[in-house]
């Protein structure tokens, strides 16, 4: 078995819209090592959710993977038919959604929703699947599973619903779980509980996570690796500590500066000026250049693929040393 559970290679997703073709994901590549968590961060519309949906093969009808590979243990998911995909989704690959309320079927008892996967994929009998569901509910910390088994989603609190989602995602013992902002809809204390639960499950069962969020502290808490997306492309990738403490792309730097309560405390938060680029007619050169404080002439014309830096990390910035100086200047300030 390979060291990486999942490898995304040069993934392109195009969305047909009235105003033109949207290049939602444009040449994204990253790896997910077995048993580890990768945080995929970026602002709304940066293509992170589209990347997740492309991996699962549940893109909206107007979107399409136009090129690239998604390798799960070496098998390219892009080339699989829906029947083959259905054998993989669930038992090997599953997903946790942002809104646990809308991601649970309102008219089905939660126990049965958890038991459905094992029944379909593992061939469990109804009774055995129900047992499995109870065990999972216990494992994700739902109190009194026997009674809650027969409850409907609306009878659960937000945090409990997310635990149900996690139980569903775990129900067929997948190798990798894709999490689409699983804690955004929860309040902070519940968020912390859910993150701890995910991190613990990750440790105990060796399941890998891809964690999409725009919340940097969450990434720092759960993930070992980080991949930063901007305008449909990856702009920086590497070990989570290194990237967040020593960003090498002005966009990552902007994210770190605009996030409260990170490693070095700042007096005031600094927003990133401007707004995300149009993905129908993206800017030439580096996609971030219209908003970048360090912009130079070459940024406007040169394509900026990820380039490897020493230490296994990578950045798309042509002038990444400038970020280092900026961080140093930030720290020097009283």
């Amino acid at each position: 078995m390979s060291e990486n559970v999942l490898e995304v290679r040069d993934l392109h997703v195009r969305i047909a819209s009235r105003r033109g073709t949207v290049r939602a994901v444009d040449g994204v590549s990253f790896e997910v090592p077995r048993g580890e968590a990768v945080g995929l961060v970026g602002e709304s519309g940066s293509g992170k959710s589209m990347t997740l949906r492309a991996i699962l093969g549940v893109l909206p009808p107007e979107a399409k993977v136009t090129s690239g590979q998604i390798l799960l243990d070496g098998v390219d998911l892009v080339t699989l038919g829906s029947a083959e995909l259905n054998r993989i989704r669930g038992p090997r690959l599953s997903m946790i959604f942002q809104e646990p309320m809308s991601a649970l079927n309102p008219v089905m008892r939660v126990g049965r929703q958890i038991a459905e996967g094992p029944q379909v994929h593992l061939g469990h009998s109804r009774a055995r699947a129900a047992e499995r569901a109870l065990e999972l509910m216990h494992r994700v910390g739902i109190p009194d599973p026997e009674r809650r088994f027969r409850a409907y989603p609306h009878e659960f609190s937000g945090g409990m619903r997310q635990r149900v989602m996690i139980a569903i995602a775990l129900s067929c013992d997948p190798e990798i779980i894709l999490c689409d902002e699983p804690t955004t809809a929860l309040d902070v204390t519940i968020q912390d509980q859910i993150l701890r639960l995910l991190a613990q499950l990750c440790r105990e069962s060796g399941v890998s996570l891809v964690f999409v969020t725009h919340d940097l502290p969450v990434v720092a808490q759960v993930c070992q690796h980080i991949a930063v997306m901007y305008g449909g492309q990856l702009v920086e990738r590497g070990d989570v500590r290194e990237v967040l403490l020593d960003p090498r792309h002005p966009y990552t730097l902007g994210l770190v500066r605009s996030a409260p309560d990170f490693e070095y405390v700042r007096e005031s938060l600094v927003p990133i000026p401007g707004s995300p680029p149009s993905l129908i007619t993206p800017p030439a050169g580096c996609r971030f250049h219209p908003r970048c404080a360090f912009v130079e002439e070459d940024c406007r014309v040169t394509e900026t693929p990820l380039r490897l830096l020493p230490g296994g990390r990578a950045t798309a910035c042509l002038h990444h040393e400038r970020c280092r100086e900026a961080v140093a200047a930030d720290r020097a300030r009283p």
Binding site: N86, G90, P91, F97, S102, A103, V107, V120, M165
Partner: protein, 298 residues
Amino acid sequence: MSAVTVTDGAGPPAASPAPADRAQRRAARRWYRQPALMAGIVIIGVILGLAIAAPLLTSYSPIVQNLNATLQGPSAHHLLGTDQLGRDTWTRLLYGLRVDLRIAFIAVLFPFVLGTILGCLAGYFGGWVDVIIMRLVDIVVAFPFYVLVIALVFVLGPGERSIYIAITAIGWVSYARIIRGEILVAKRQDYVLAAQAGGLSSLRIMGRHLLPNVITQAIIYAMSDIVQDILAIVTLGYFGLGVPPPTADLGSMINDGQNFLSTHWQLTTIPGLVVVIVGLGLSLIGDGLADLLRPGQS
């Protein structure tokens, strides 16, 4: 959609304190507190009871003629008199109800099932499946329901089987439209995406996840559709395209009595009134159910 709209007079008082108000509203949502639904259930209950208990409520046969006792007025022996062949009108009414209600309740099922399945496929898959099914719907909808049903039964020949075929062939379109619309909304929900992400087949997603969420609308519609079906069955009977004589049927009773309208009006009027009452009762149930099942309308 439905023929009768009844305003609910027993809503909760407007300005009571919040907890009591909520409890009251919940109570008002209980089925037995819905006046429309309750009235409909009572009407249909009585009618069904009469139809089922027909052999106990009369000692006459609905088909055996007695040419010595034709066209009698109401009397102790013949509650509603007799028709031109000496058959007891009350007896024929009860047995006619039996036949018509049975056909109506069966006839409403086929279009319900067919329309639900086709609407589900059209809404879920979209694309050419949707185009084909909805073009078929458009073709059927272009003609009035009764005209098509009568024409079809005429072509197929009179009888129960033809009625089922005709009503199914025409009636499914409404269910297909309703379910398709509901599915189009429901399939955008995250739980459908979650089910797809869980590797469930399209069939399972439609059957176990989408249908339970949308079927209510079809059930509500079925309640008003059955009124339409009963009217169609009675109309067909009236035209001589229904169940063949001598079996009693409200439509043929109305038609047979027509010749004696000036002297024996009850032969026509009473079956006609019964049809109206049945229609009213079913409409009331339909409206009551709609109020009860449609969420967020208290």
